[in-house]
Amino acid sequence: MSNLTIKNLKKSYADTEILKGINLDIKDHEFVVFVGPSGCGKSTLLRTIAGLEEATSGNIYLDEREITDVAPAKRDLAMVFQTYALYPHMTVRKNMSFALELAGTNKSEIETKVNEAARILELQPLLDRKPKELSGGQRQRVAIGRSIVRHPKVFLFDEPLSNLDAALRVQMRLELARLHHDLNATMIYVTHDQIEAMTLADKVVVLNQGHIEQVGTPMELYHRPANQFVAGFMGMPKMSFLPGQIIAGDNSGLQVQLASGSKLEVPVRAEGLTKGSTITLGIRPEHIQVTDQQEGRFKGRLDVTEHLGSDTFCYVQTSAKETLTVRTPGDFSGRFGDTVGLNFDAAHCHLFGSDGRSLERIQSNF
């Protein structure tokens, strides 16, 4: 069993509060990913869980045992660092056995555990090399191996793949997913990379300026973001936001008028909102279609287009100076300055109140 519970955790450096009351439950075998903009406190939270930073207040429990003030090595956690942090003067074997040797484990047991980890990570041929004789991906595997041999209750990863090139990152991502499955372990993973978050996570924790914005499965965050921050943060490219006003509301949804004048009805609950109050409408690039000038709900001027081969991302400016990002097929042939029509289904739109909170959808297919 390994359930991690964090209660009202706060962390300050001198006068600046970095973590402003974190509450989080992590269940056995879960793969939890922390995402958030740079400097929001992801690493600090992870390091506080690991015991490398002292919590200013709050509690951390691992299976009923409070570990808030327990020494890092006694917490039953293992951490993999972004820079791998291998011991340069030790061989791969020694790197992996170091923790066990310090703990006074007997030789034959160390041998079995190291060999087992080496087998899982396919490191057997490299066991007698020094870290400097390994490639980046191999070093990363050794760093993971070092944590595996200890059989910790929870694995912590701080951006473990960010020093690898794109191809290797994809490969290691798959290996991590396989490892999570094979070890059946609880893992906490910090990343900048949305794809890593979406593909690896059972549960994504979106952090912003030291507090949690939303916790949920990747699909929940994508389809039902709790607020404008999460909606803007999850998804590549970003969701487009258009300012608007409520003109009417009933049981089936809200009538909204956008700055460019077009009106649409979005199926969200209208409670507590008055006519005339301002809202923000969000729409993802993949839910907008480019059409003929006449047919579209909107007219816009094509700005930059980015051709990725499989898709083309178009940035379109409307007459009201709103910018929309649109995903079109790879063979899209529009040019800079062309006027195009844009169309989207109101059912895919998100509405955010003036406080940034999402308005609840009436009936969601997702």
Partner: protein, 313 residues
């Protein structure tokens, strides 16, 4: 034209091209040889003249007290120097001085630099003060130690000893070599601290954190992470200090004058006393050459032992 002639033609042209490239390269090499020759010549003169003069002096009778009697004596000077009772004392003292000073400066240097690597109030000032003895001239340093610290009547040590009710020690009479080692260590400890402190700053923070997570306490951290990281800088300290410590002179000259007896005479001081106290230039030259030979042997072993450590990893 047949195919084979074409081939020979083409091969001939490339051949001549190669030849011209080679000749240009040769010309370049010749030009650069002319260009560097003056400095090589000066260097040669710089080395050869004193060396050959020393060799020459070492092979003749050359005592300033007996001018004009400069006949060739073969290896007599060498024999004299090697069989002089001062020679083995000088060898032994040199080794003791170098060995103990290295031991003290490296051990204390590691401990102190690890201590001041932690953040504490006033660390900057402490660091500057730790380094400062290095900038004091050896003669001044020795005089300060002799007259202000170790003096049996007016020295600070004597005051401390008296305060605790002990008999003050006359260091230069009873423990002369120990006193010299103290002085030289004080002079060279800052060098070790400087090098090791700088090296510690490049120790990866995450590596230490990883070790802490692996269960390493302060001692294990020091032994398994910090010390291996310092292996190379320690090798540098040992090499450089050895080179300078083999020829310690000013500290001995200003304090004990090599005495009592031969107790603090090292090779450098022995050569000096042969040449200028006994006015025997021939003997001193022989001693100098022997010292050069010994220093080279020491350097050879040092480089074999430590140089390997430097080049690998």
């Amino acid at each position: 034209m047949s195919l084979s002639t074409v081939e020979t033609l083409s091969s001939r042209t490339t051949g001549s091209q190669d030849a011209s490239i080679v000749s240009i390269a040769k010309k370049n090499a010749r030009v650069s040889r002319y260009m560097v020759s003056p400095s090589v010549l000066v260097l040669l003169l710089w080395m050869i003249v004193p060396l050959s003069m020393t060799i020459y002096f070492s092979l003749i009778r050359y005592n300033l007290l007996y001018p004009g009697e400069n006949e060739f004596v073969g290896f007599e000077n060498y024999e004299f120097f090697l069989t002089d009772e001062g020679f083995f004392a000088g060898m032994g003292n040199t080794l003791l001085l170098v060995g103990f000073t290295l031991l003290i400066t490296v051990v204390l240097g590691v401990l102190i630099s690890v201590l001041v690597n932690k953040a504490f109030w006033g660390r900057g000032i402490v660091r500057v003060m730790l380094i400062s003895p290095f900038f004091i001239m050896p003669t001044v340093n020795a005089l300060v130690w002799k007259n202000l610290l170790l003096h049996p009547v007016s020295g600070v040590f004597a005051a401390v000893w008296t305060f605790f009710g002990a008999e003050p020690i006359d260091w230069f009479t009873h423990y002369p070599l120990t006193a010299i080692i103290m002085i030289v260590s004080w002079q060279w400890l800052p060098f070790a601290i400087l090098i090791l402190m700088t090296a510690l700053q490049s120790l990866d923070q995450e590596q230490q954190e990883a070790a802490r997570l692996d269960g390493a306490g302060p001692w294990a951290l020091f032994y398994h992470i910090t010390l291996p990281h310092l292996a190379r800088p320690i090798a540098v300290v040992v090499m450089i200090e050895t080179i300078f410590l083999l020829s310690i002179f000013a500290e001995i000259f200003t304090t004990t004058g090599g005495g009592p007896g031969y107790e603090t005479t090292n090779l450098a001081y022995l050569i000096y006393s042969q040449a200028l106290l006994q006015f025997d230039v021939g003997l001193a030259s022989a001693g100098g050459l022997i010292a050069v030979l010994l220093a080279n042997i020491a350097a050879f072993f040092l480089v074999r032992m430590i140089g390997k450590n430097l080049t690998e990893a």
